[in-house]
Each structure stands twice: as structure tokens, then as C-alpha cells.
């Protein structure tokens, strides 16, 4: 497994994580097993940001949810600062590990003012006085670029970008060590998206924060992560440092994701755009799960699952015929 040489102790270690769900098969039919995640293995160092990339159905959100304790692992383990992340230790970790979801408006209580929503975590996790809480709320609102008069407003009075800033302020107020951003800009206008991306980048530099940034858009990911992890049907296809990944994407799936990024500069696609849809995770293809959409697929790919192999540039790829 890769570990950052500058830091001997990763903040987060995910070891051979597997998550399975039982899905109803219909009237009098047996339940079916859905493998949402299989053999997920990666580390995140303190201060590091990792992009988790893949289409809908790739398992990105299940991974985020298992880190947050919202889904129980079926196999493997998750270590936080070297200790297993178990149900009973979650509460202690929750303060250090925060989450920002895509639908920020939906995650705010419509009856609470912005100020109350931002302060909620502080009132739950600490015993500070009202004036200390007020100060902390004002500071974090300034940090995320929210005008202070918005503290008295209700969620329905916010624009999409403001609601996302409130969600980020809620995540930041406890000064966590890591934030999981689950598609935080996918629902925003391009101009607002740019503001939020710059905000996340700035916070990370000023707070020394680690984060996981979940997204399907590689041009967005490229701006704000150190390393990229590509998921497909619950398996890791590729992991590499950002510059290495974008200079030499090795998995045909990563290459297709890069080709799909829209461009105003009229680039010609280097690789083919994926035409079919992602297969159902209830019936994943044998061997390499990507083979049904892969331009390079051969007999070997249907027979054997390709192992995740690392090269000298600390670039891991699970493909029988990597580029």
C-alpha cells in the first residue's frame, strides 16, 4: 500500500474495505447481494486532499458514508489516526471528521436561521458560552465569505452558492482535521462553482485540512486535490498523484473520464467518449468490471480480475493492458 514518505502515520487508512447490501429480489424471490465496494485500500496523510472520481453507481457515496459510520463495512477496516473506527468511537471522531453534501439546502433545517445552523455543532460538541459561540460563528462566516447579516436569514432566502457556503461553515466550525466533500459543486452554476472551489482551496491552505473530494468532473478535481482515486462499480481502477495522473492516465476508464470533460477551447477528444451506461451493480461483469465498456477488452479481461499494481512513479492501476 502506498504511504506518504514524509508522514509515517496516515490520518485515515482504509484497508480492504468491502460493503455489501442485500436487495429485495421481488415477491417470493430470494434477496440479491449488491457489492457496493470491494477491496478498497488507500491512505490519506494529514493535510492531504484526495479526489474520489467515478460515475453515478461507482460507489463514491457509499465510500463516504462508510467513513462517516452511516454504513457498516462487511469486510476490512477503517483506521482513524491508527485506531479502528468503530461505532463506539465515532462520537469522538465526529468532531474531527466532518461532511459537506451536494444538497446543502436539503441538509439545513428550514426552521432554523443560518446562524443557528452554523452554531449547532458547537452547541452539541462543546460547552462554550453564548458569546464565545457567537464569535466563532462570526469568524467562520467571514472565513467562508458569508455576509454577517445573513446569520438571521432562513435557508429558503439563500442562493445555491450561499447555502453551500453555510454547509461549509457548518463543517468548519469545529476545526476538524478532515472534511468529506460529497459532490459539493455539482448542483451549482459555473460562476458559483468557481467561487466555492476557490474557497475550498483557500481553507485547505489556511487550515492545513485534509479532505476527500468526491466528484465526477475531473477538471474540477484537478484544481483542488493532491491525489486522485478512480472508482468503477465499487472497485479501485487507478490511484496516482495529481500531476502524474493527468499527465499519464493509465486506465482506459480514467482516459474516458478525461475525454468527457467539456472544453471551451475546442480540444479534440484524445480518447473515445463512453457510449454505454454503467452496468447494474447487481450483475457486475466477470473479471474486470470495466471490460463491457472498454475499447481494449480481451478474453483475459473476462476471465481474471486485474490486480491493482504499482509502478515506480507510485502510480497504481488495475488493468491487464494499462496505457
Amino acid at each position: 500500500m502506498i504511504a506518504d514518505p514524509t508522514d509515517s502515520r496516515p490520518l485515515l487508512q482504509v484497508k480492504q474495505l468491502g460493503v455489501r447490501f442485500l436487495v429485495k429480489g421481488g415477491f417470493l424471490r430470494p434477496k440479491k447481494q449488491l457489492k457496493a465496494l470491494t477491496a478498497i485500500d488507500f491512505d490519506v496523510a494529514p493535510g492531504e486532499s484526495l479526489g474520489i472520481v467515478g460515475e453515478t453507481g461507482s460507489g463514491k457515496s457509499t465510500l463516504a458514508r462508510s467513513l462517516l459510520g452511516l454504513v457498516d463495512p462487511s469486510e476490512g477496516s477503517i483506521l482513524w489516526a491508527g485506531k479502528p473506527l468503530e461505532r463506539k468511537s465515532r462520537a469522538a471522531v465526529r468532531k474531527d471528521l466532518q461532511v459537506v453534501f451536494q444538497d446543502s439546502l436539503g441538509s439545513l433545517d428550514p426552521r432554523w436561521t443560518v446562524g443557528q445552523s452554523i452554531a449547532e455543532a458547537l452547541t452539541t460538541h462543546s460547552s462554550r458560552s453564548a458569546s464565545e459561540i457567537d464569535q466563532a460563528v462570526q469568524k467562520v462566516m467571514t472565513d467562508v465569505g458569508l455576509r454577517l447579516e445573513l446569520a438571521g436569514r432562513f435557508p429558503h432566502e439563500l442562493s445555491g452558492g450561499q447555502a453551500q457556503r453555510v454547509a461549509i461553515a457548518r463543517g468548519l466550525i469545529l476545526r476538524p482535521r478532515m472534511i468529506v466533500f460529497d459532490e459539493p459543486v455539482s448542483a451549482l452554476d459555473v460562476s458559483t462553482q468557481a467561487q466555492i472551489l476557490n474557497l475550498i482551496d483557500r481553507i485547505r491552505k489556511s487550515e492545513g485540512l485534509s479532505y476527500l473530494f468526491i466528484s465526477h468532473d475531473l477538471a474540477v478535481v484537478r484544481r483542488i486535490v493532491d491525489r486522485v482515486l478512480v472508482l468503477y462499480l465499487g472497485r479501485i481502477m487507478e490511484i496516482a498523484g495529481r500531476d502524474e495522473f493527468f499527465a499519464r492516465p493509465r486506465h482506459p476508464y480514467s482516459q474516458a473520464l478525461i475525454a468527457a470533460v467539456p472544453s471551451t477551447r475546442g480540444h479534440k477528444h484524445q480518447h473515445a467518449v463512453l457510449s454505454q451506461d454503467i452496468p447494474s451493480p447487481l450483475a457486475p461483469p466477470s473479471g474486470c468490471v470495466f471490460r463491457t465498456r472498454c475499447p481494449k477488452a480481451a478474453d483475459l479481461c473476462a476471465a481474471t480480475v486485474p490486480p491493482l499494481v504499482e509502478n515506480q512513479r507510485r502510480h497504481l492501476v488495475a488493468c491487464h493492458f494499462p496505457g
Binding site: 452554476d189 476557490n198 465526477h216 484537478r222 468527457a260 467539456p262 471551451t264 477551447r265 457510449s275
Partner: protein, 330 residues
């Protein structure tokens, strides 16, 4: 600005405005828009949420709210849709002009099979009956590259992936072989891979079926390889209009330039922060005086606050509502 080839016009929007009374005051989401769509043309209409881009086309087809006041002209083959009766509009909507909405999950009935919903459209709009219907539905699914159409007709919307649902909506719109397809943010909720596929598909359908297509979007990144012309909207007005390629290479309105620079690209220099447009889109209840964009504009000066700028001709076929357009540079 005049249209270079007037006879090819298929839809002509003239001095078109939409006004709503609200308890807080009068809101005008569309202000005096002039726009032509030629036969077989692909036009992109770009702007942020609240720019009026959807209201423009909903209003043109008589789909504004009941309390809306719609003025101006929308000429479709010589017929003015603004003064047309509901009955006349129904002859045109769905059959001649199809509208594909952003969210296919709320547009599809979750309790009915895809095939049933498609057959309903065919029966209502064309009076088709019997065995033909299924054939035509399979054909339409085939056109949008949904394989095994026969089997898919018996599936429910939840059994389709997001991209497939969006394509099924497009297939439904194609059933009546419309002359104009309006796709309202068809890719916003989709994965980039599926986005690229839906845009490619719209381009191909337009070529093969000879349709005109209007693509409504907030992302200038996706229009580049698709649209012949692009109209950029802000605060209810078209603020720049021209050939897509030319406008992207040399935008002549500071807002268009801002939108372009805000799109993250794979070959950006990531050491410098992504360019942003400061501030928020205008409050429709209190539109700024003069140029509605001036509070967010980098090059605004005193005279920008005085009058609403006219659409100035940059050259034939390219207009900008910015009095300082010669000063707009990346």
C-alpha cells in the same frame, strides 16, 4: 442587428417580455428579447440561474404562469404564439415544437411503464393507434441509442439510469418529429460521461432529422462543439449574441468573458485561482439601473449606470450590450 438570411427563420422572437406581479412588486424575468432561430440551426442560450433563459422559452410557448403578462411577438411560421389561442398552441406544442425539461424524474410518471407513457404521447399528438405505436416507440428509443428498446418499453422509469431517463425524454420528444427541440439544461444533473453523450446525441439528431435545437444551459463549456450560435442572457436580457466559435474565441461582453473563465479546464494553470465573477446575480425585484451587470463588472464606469446599453454591432451577426465592448479582453 439583422439576420443575414431572413427567409430561413423558423422561430422569430420580437420585443418579447414576461412580467409577473408578486406581493413584493413586479418582476420581469424576460425583458425585450429579440432572437431568431433558423431552420436546422443549433442555438445555445446560456446564463446563470435567474437569468431568464428558461422563462424566455416557456413564455414563448404560452407556458408562463397564469398571472404572467406576456408582450411582444413570437412568430412560428408566420403565426404569432403570443396571441394564439390555447387550442392553437396545443397544435404546435409537442408536435411542432418539443420541450425537454431538466429533471426527467419529475417529468416521467413513476407508476407507468416507459412504453405506456410514450404510446400516450403518440396517441394524443398524432392519433396513431394499434401495432404501429410500439414500432414507432422502439424506433424512437433506437434513435437515442437506448438498446433493446422492445424490452425497455416494459420497464418503469426507476429501472432506467439517469442518462437513460434523459434520453428517454428526448425519445418522447422525437415521437412527433418536431421541427424545433428545446432542451432545458438536459445535462445538468448528469455525469460528465453521460453529459458528453447527450450533447453528441443532440447534435447527431439535429443533423439526421433536420431539426432546429435550442440548448439552454449555464455551462459555456458544453456549447463549444455543439451550437452554431450562442445567446448569453443576464438579468432577463440577451447581452451577447453571435457565432459560438467567434464568441468563445473573443467574447465582447464582460459577463460572457467571466462565464468562460469560470469553467475549469484540463489545461488551466492550476497555480492561479480560478477566475470568478464577483457578487451575486441581480435581485429581480431591484434590477440595477443602467447596465444590469455593472455592479459585478470589472470595467464598469459612471456612464454604465445611466442607460441600458443597446445591442451594439461588433460586426455582422455578433452583438454585445456593452458600451465598452472594444475594451473587453481576457
Amino acid at each position: 442587428m439583422t439576420d443575414p438570411e431572413p427567409p430561413r427563420r423558423m422561430l422569430s422572437i420580437r420585443n418579447f417580455s414576461v412580467t409577473y406581479p408578486t406581493p413584493a412588486g413586479v418582476v420581469t424575468p424576460v425583458i425585450n428579447v429579440n432572437l431568431d432561430i433558423a431552420r436546422n440551426e443549433a442555438l445555445a442560450v446560456v446564463g446563470e440561474s435567474g437569468s431568464g433563459k428558461s422563462q424566455l422559452f416557456l413564455g414563448s410557448l404560452g407556458l408562463s404562469g397564469r398571472n404572467a403578462r406576456v408582450t411582444g411577438e413570437v412568430l412560428f411560421e408566420g403565426k404569432d404564439l403570443v396571441t394564439a389561442s390555447e387550442r392553437e398552441l396545443r397544435q404546435i406544442r409537442g408536435r411542432r415544437i418539443a420541450y425537454v425539461f431538466q429533471n426527467p424524474l419529475t417529468s416521467l410518471n413513476p407508476y407507468l411503464k416507459i412504453g405506456t407513457q410514450m404510446a400516450e404521447v403518440l396517441a394524443r399528438e398524432t392519433g396513431a393507434q394499434g401495432g404501429h405505436i410500439r414500432e414507432r416507440c422502439v424506433e424512437a428509443l433506437d434513435m437515442v441509442q437506448i438498446p433493446e428498446g422492445r424490452r425497455r418499453l416494459d420497464m418503469y422509469p426507476h429501472e432506467f439510469s439517469g442518462g437513460m431517463r434523459q434520453r428517454a425524454m428526448i425519445a418522447m420528444a422525437l415521437l412527433c418529429k418536431p421541427d424545433l427541440l428545446i432542451a432545458d439544461e438536459p445535462t445538468t444533473a448528469l455525469d460528465v460521461t453521460v453529459q458528453a453523450h447527450v450533447i453528441d446525441l443532440l447534435g447527431r439528431l439535429r443533423r439526421e432529422l433536420g431539426m432546429s435545437v435550442v440548448l439552454i444551459t449555464h455551462n459555456l463549456g458544453i456549447v463549444a462543439g455543439f451550437a452554431d450560435r450562442t445567446a448569453v442572457m443576464y438579468g432577463g436580457r440577451v447581452i451577447e449574441l453571435g457565432e459560438t466559435r467567434e464568441m468563445i474565441a473573443g467574447p465582447r461582453h464582460p459577463y460572457t468573458l467571466g462565464l468562460l473563465e469560470a469553467v475549469p479546464e484540463l489545461d488551466d494553470d492550476i497555480m492561479s485561482p480560478l477566475a470568478t465573477i464577483p457578487g451575486q446575480p441581480p435581485n429581480p425585484l431591484q434590477l440595477p439601473a443602467g447596465c444590469t451587470f455593472h455592479p459585478r463588472c470589472r470595467i464598469a464606469e459612471a456612464r454604465c449606470v445611466e442607460d441600458v446599453p443597446e445591442l451594439a454591432t461588433v460586426h455582422a451577426g455578433h452583438g454585445s450590450r456593452c458600451i465598452k465592448w472594444p475594451d473587453v479582453h481576457p
